[in-house]
């Protein structure tokens, strides 16, 4: 009986710990703006990972065509008619050790994808670091939350 109570207690503790870890990761969810102010990105959780898609563009239309901007720099020609509005530029982030890692960030202006790690400076500010290979060789951008908590 004593063992059963102990087992139930540790299961309860483990569940609480898992839930709080999930909650901590979920503070990434929301609407964010990169430092250049050209876009707004909605970060959401799908399955166990975090993804961010462009939901607003300061200049939604291509000045050359007058039509909505497309992913014209994609290396795959068959995907160049994917609209930038709705584009998932942040993919596959996993929350661990106080940061979101193992993800990628896509730069639609160059058509390049970089490894990426996200750190929260506070509830309303993110450091988004894109890099190739080694974290030290990268660039950090500061994103601000649009709906301040």
């Amino acid at each position: 009986m004593k063992n059963l109570i102990l087992l139930a207690f540790f299961t309860f503790l483990s569940t609480i710990s898992n839930l709080s870890a999930q909650d901590a990761g979920d503070k990434l969810i929301g609407l964010w703006e990169p430092s250049n102010g050209k876009a707004r990105v909605k970060i959401e959780k799908i399955g166990t990972k975090y993804y961010g898609k462009i939901v607003w563009l300061r200049e939604p239309n291509d000045p050359q065509t007058g039509q909505p901007k497309l992913d014209k720099n994609n290396s795959d020609q068959s995907m160049r008619n994917v609209p930038l509005k709705g584009y998932r530029m942040l993919k596959d982030f996993v929350h661990a050790d106080g940061e979101w890692n193992n993800g990628t960030i896509y730069d639609p202006e160059s058509g390049s994808t970089y490894s990426c790690v996200i750190k929260a400076k506070n509830d309303n500010t993110l450091d988004i670091r894109g890099f190739v290979g080694v974290k030290a060789l990268g660039r950090t951008d500061v994103w601000k939350r649009m709906q301040v908590k």
Binding site: K53, S78, V82, P83, K85, G86, Y87, K91
Partner: protein, 169 residues
């Protein structure tokens, strides 16, 4: 010398016989995609789950899972409950993902033709990790749906995906 040549020819034939492959089509059952309303104009996310059970499918063909060498997505078709669900949509982009495999953008339809309930998406030429994805227990379908205006109800569709599997004979 003659013996050596014969032996080499035999080895070559044996090698090709062992590595010969064939292709099989694997078509999914209809997969429900839903974006829960109310929905706002712009980018919205519709999701659906799919359990490929590819090992069972291969078993029915008399093959083991280890025989799977490659997989590519061939076609993606969407069926909408009514034309309202297509009239309100400007573009649809479809991605596949799983807990253990990164998300892959696999198909797009831009623009979505008005008044249609059957849609065929253009499939990506560059495809990665499709074989890894279909070997997962659960695969996620994520459709980014750009709405022309707000919608109170859910946006719904069913997707059927057709994969071409390359397997060892």
């Amino acid at each position: 010398m003659k013996v050596l040549l014969s032996f080499s020819s035999f080895l070559l034939c044996f090698f090709f016989a062992c590595t010969e492959s064939k292709t099989i089509t694997f078509k999914t059952a209809p997969i429900a995609l839903v974006a829960s309303g109310p929905l706002f104009e712009g980018a919205n996310t519709a999701q659906g789950d799919f359990f490929p059970n590819i090992a069972d499918f291969l078993k029915q063909q008399g093959l083991e899972l280890s025989a799977l060498e490659n997989a590519t997505l061939q076609t993606v078709s969407l069926t909408l409950p009514d034309s309202l669900n297509s009239d309100l949509v400007s573009e649809i982009t479809l991605q596949l993902a799983a807990d253990q495999v990164d998300m892959q953008k696999v198909a797009v339809l831009n623009p979505v033709p008005a008044g249609q309930t059957q849609l065929t998406l253009s499939v990506a030429q560059e495809q990665k990790k499709i074989a890894d994805l279909i070997q997962q227990n659960k695969m996620l379908l994520v459709a980014d749906v750009n709405l022309k205006k707000d919608m109170d109800a859910d946006w719904q569709a069913t997707a059927v995906l057709e994969f071409l599997l390359t397997v060892k004979k």
